[in-house]
Structure formats: structure tokens, C-alpha cells
Symmetry: C2
């Protein structure tokens, strides 16, 4: 009986929802993993928790309508947590971009309005899970996901299941220390991967080089920008233009990313490692090759080193939304 | 039916076997985790694989007799692998202390002689699993085991199961890089935890200090020893005697061990971390306290940092043997 219900749930569409500081996005995903309905609304966070919750519910129902479905056709929904949370207890502790959000029982509030199971998880975990089910990780048994952008985030899928961790804080990959006496990280410690290989770290080293008189294409490219933040696209433009400073700084980031990949693999021994995020997306395959080389060199298991798949993420901006939908499906299917 | 068989297996005694270069040890463990029979024989590795395998089988049967049991009373056995192996395929690839051992299908060879299921796993994985079921890790859901001796080894238990890894090479904890530009490790890379906090690394730094003219109790204590290797006991003696050089070198090792613990926790988020091995056993609780302090400081999850249990291993030399027995039990119980 339970087996039958689980089978039913696996065949029914699910909803993934992304809750940001400016917009709410909902997508209905069918049994083949295709988005068949979408809806978007402004968050208007200043109106307070109750109003935003009501708007999330509306957005979800609009996506269901857009898919020409009824809410009774939907097996479950999952919201990408807008900040630190306890997924099993369904609590959002806080949300940096949503003023007033403190200890909000978001899934319960939505369940009351939608009459369907609602789940919660963080964005990089869901992004990794999305890649696992529908993207670059399809068909692998285990996965470490590493996303390089403003910071470095990650996720773990072990034996087909998201590793959330005993305190729901697994996969803080950006804060694994790989150079204990290295530069200070945003978290206050020294030598975290994020302080060595994130876009922020790369940008810091490029500006330091320019201030020290090194030549670079970056000042010219950056005339368009109104701030010191170097977008991944500008990095890619300078890199492809053969900028020696940018190439040198990126080589350092690639070295540390390779060590980070190897350190994760030496601990977890997953089937594959997926690299994604703004920096990896903008710089592409030629950025990844040196990362792979360093990683293979640092793996302890020499016998099977090359069998560790190190691949680029495929789902881009949709990863967390698709991951949320797939996570909701796994949750109701495995009950 | 299968459920009944599994229940039977969980109630029957199991055998753990340790195969070393000089001796073979077998222990029968009853349903309450107590050793109820033991046997020991010389390995005599020079006589070749066949002879050693026959001797392992004999030792196991002697342990069974010592427990006043019959081989039909035994649910299964597990051998601690004497070198790199593939546990699921039951292959020992090689064994540094057993000449001639190359691609030996040890479990199959033993099964043929013993007529019971026989399993294989490596020593630190089994030591961690032993601590999980019967030692310091009893009652926890997840565990990272870190063993500090001549090298640094480790094991992972996640959601109650040993994480063996996709290539059976998970938990190479000694080769996680935490100081990328640090000293060269035995593995050839720089900055592995093992090159910073193992007994070998501690010993290297102490001799370097002494050569540089620093005062220390070590030369006096070491007059008894015939080699440069500083045993953990000698370290403990100097540490308790207030040796300033040894205290300083150990403080550095404690700092790096704290970072190693935090880096594992930031990736895995286990319920507990168990620290064991010769160095930790000899130096005891006062060695562990600074390790804990650094680890708590480096955890990313500040909300629940103190809930990470960092405890000392309890099973000592018996950990791998007991772990082997418990691993055999879990294997036949979960079939």
C-alpha cells in the first residue's frame, strides 16, 4: 500500500520555489524532469512575513495553472531556503535579504495554504541535488558539488541521497582550510578555500597587482562597471585576451581549487565532482583543465585516480529550482 | 524469511581477525560485543600465501574452540586487510608486510576452508567502526575517526554505516591538505595533515629544534632508544615534564589537528569526532583540549558548534579486531 503511494508520488508533478530578496519564482516539474509551468512575482519583503508567505503560495498556484494542472495533481513542493534553516523541522532561522524573517516555520505556513507537503533546503545543497538528478551528475552514485562565485558553496550527494549533516550544515566547502597561514576569509579565519579561489579572492589579488603597477586589461574593461567588483564575465574577457596578471591570479585559484577537489575526494571518495558557479560558467572548460591536473596529482588513490569524474555543472541558474522540485519528489517517494 | 535470517545472524557470535606481518590474531565476539574467545599464531609470511591462509583459518577455528563454540555457531568473520584492498570484491591488492601477497582473494580462500561468510576491510575503517559500535562512538549516528600515530589515518561512519567510498578509498584523512605550502609529506605532496601533526612530523620538528640548539628532555629520555624515532610514550614523558620545545612543537600539532577536525566537520557535519592512535592515547585528555578549542573556533556552524562531540577513542589496540567482528555482523544482518 505504502509502496503504491510512493510510486504514485514519483509519477506526479512537483514544484520548486526560489525565494529571493526581489523576486519569488515557482516552477512545476513533470515526471521527466521538464519544467512545464512557471510563475514569478515581486517579493515585496517590506510588507512583512505574512504577506510574503501569501505571495509564495499564490506564485506556486499560478505556476500550477500555467502548467494547466490542478493543485491536486501536485505531489509536493520545496522552497529554496532564503537563509540558515533547519530543513527537517521546517524552520528558517533568518534571511539576510528578507527583513523581519526570524524563526519562520515556512513549510507549515505554506502547507496550511496549499494543502500539499512542503519541504525546505538551502540553495547550494539543492543546486547539487538538481545537478545529480537532472544535470551533470545524472547517473552517478555520489557527488561533491563545488560552486565558485562571490563565495564558494557546495553540496554532497552520497549513495543517491543529499547529505544534509547532523546539524544541517554539511558541505561548507568554502570554509575547508587548505592554507592555514593564508589570507583572512570573510568568516574571520585564515586560509579557507573561499579566501583563495572565490571570485572575491581573485578580484582582491587582481586589484592588488594593478595597485602594484602590473599591467592588465581589467581597468579598461572595468570602465563600464560602476564598482570595484569584477564580474565573472569581465574576468573571462581578460583571460581570453591573454591578460598576464589575470592569467597568473587565475592559475593560483586553479591550483587551490584542485587541492580543494582532492581534499574533498580524499575524505569522501565520491564517484564524481561537479564544478559550477559564476566563475566556472564564465571561464569554461579551459579553466577546469588545470584544476583537474592538480586534483589528480593530489588524490591518494593512485590506482583509480582518473576514474574520479570532474565535470562542469549544466543547469546554470535553474539548478536550485530544479533541485528543489527533485528533492520534494524524493521526499514523498521515499516515505 | 529473510528478515528472520537477518535476526538470527545478529544474535550469533562473529569473528574478527587481525593479520599482521608477525602474528595472526582472532577473536570471537558475542551478541553483547564481548570477546569470548581468542587465539594467536605466528604469521610466518615467508612460507607463502597458501600457508598463511591455512594458518588464518586455523587461528579462527582455535578462537571458536576457545569460546567453547562450534563453527556452525558463528554468523560470519571479517579480516582486517593487511594492505590496499577492494572489500566488496574481496581482493587484497598487496600487503607491505607479507611478501608475495598480490591480488589475493582472501575472503574466498577462507570461505572455502571455513564454510562461513568472510569479509574484508582496512584497519582504520574497522577501528572507527569498532569505536562506533562498542567504544567512544556508541550511540552516535555519525562519526569521523582520526587516528594519530606514525601517520594519520581515519574512518567515516555516516548514518550508522561505514562510508567505504566509491573506490574504497574514503577517509584518507591524513592526506587532506591544510597548509598547501607546508612541509613535504611521505606521499610526496606538501601540507597534508600527516606532514603537520603525525608522530613523525612532531619528531621531525623536535629533532630540528634540538639540532638548532634548543634545550629539551628528549635527548636524555631517548638514550634508552636505539633509533631516532621518538615513541609516543617518550613524547608524553617530556610533555608532562614541562619540556618547552616539546610543548611548543605539540602546540603546533594541536593547532593543525584542530583545523583538520574543523575541516572534516565543515564538509561532513557528523554528530561526533573520535580522536585516537598512539599519540592521543599517550598524551591523553590535556592534549585534546587545545585541539577542541581550535576546532570549535573553525566550525562554520556557530549555532550548534558545541554540539559536535570531540572525544577520545576507547578501544585501544582492540579497535580494529572488534570493528572487524561488528562489521561482519552488520554485513550478514543487513542482507
Amino acid at each position: 500500500m505504502e509502496g503504491d503511494m510512493a510510486k504514485d508520488a514519483a509519477d506526479k508533478p512537483v514544484v520548486g520555489t526560489d525565494l529571493g530578496g526581489t523576486k519569488i519564482l515557482a516552477g512545476v516539474v513533470n515526471e521527466s524532469g521538464k519544467i512545464v509551468g512557471m510563475a514569478k512575482r515581486a517579493t515585496r519583503a517590506h510588507e512583512g512575513v505574512e504577506q510574503v508567505v501569501a505571495r509564495i503560495a499564490k506564485t506556486i498556484l499560478e505556476a500550477v495553472s500555467d502548467a494547466k494542472l490542478d493543485r491536486s495533481d501536485i505531489a509536493a513542493a520545496c522552497v529554496v531556503a532564503p537563509g540558515p534553516s533547519n530543513p527537517d523541522h521546517g524552520i528558517v532561522w533568518s534571511a539576510p535579504n528578507l527583513p523581519g524573517w526570524e524563526e519562520v516555520h515556512l513549510p507549515d505556513l505554506l502547507k496550511a495554504r496549499l494543502d500539499m507537503p512542503v519541504f525546505l533546503e538551502n540553495d547550494v545543497n539543492l543546486g547539487t541535488f538538481g545537478e545529480f538528478v537532472l544535470g551533470a551528475g545524472k547517473g552517478y552514485r555520489d557527488l561533491v558539488g563545488i560552486f565558485v562565485g562571490t563565495g564558494i558553496g557546495g553540496g554532497l550527494v552520497l549513495d543517491g541521497r543529499l547529505r544534509q549533516g547532523f546539524r544541517y550544515s554539511a558541505a561548507e566547502i568554502g570554509h575547508m582550510v587548505i592554507l592555514a597561514d593564508g589570507p583572512v576569509c570573510g568568516c574571520g579565519k585564515r586560509g579557507c578555500a573561499e579566501a583563495l579561489a572565490s571570485r572575491t579572492a581573485i578580484e582582491r589579488d587582481i586589484w592588488a597587482g594593478i595597485r602594484a603597477g602590473r599591467e592588465s586589461l581589467i581597468p579598461e574593461i572595468m570602465k563600464r562597471e560602476k564598482r570595484e567588483q569584477i564580474p565573472s564575465g569581465a574576468l573571462a574577457e581578460a583571460y581570453r585576451g591573454g591578460d598576464p596578471l589575470v592569467t597568473e591570479v587565475l592559475a593560483r585559484a586553479q591550483f587551490y581549487l584542485g587541492i580543494l577537489v582532492a581534499t574533498c575526494v580524499n575524505l569522501i571518495d565520491p564517484e564524481a565532482v561537479i564544478l559550477g558557479g559564476g566563475v566556472v560558467e564564465a571561464l569554461g572548460e579551459e579553466f577546469l583543465e588545470p584544476v583537474r591536473r592538480v586534483a589528480y596529482q593530489y588524490f591518494m588513490n593512485k590506482r583509480d585516480a582518473k576514474s574520479v569524474q570532474i565535470v562542469r555543472a549544466r543547469l546554470g541558474d535553474n539548478a536550485a529550482l530544479l533541485g528543489a522540485a527533485m528533492f520534494a519528489r524524493q521526499k514523498v517517494s521515499s516515505k
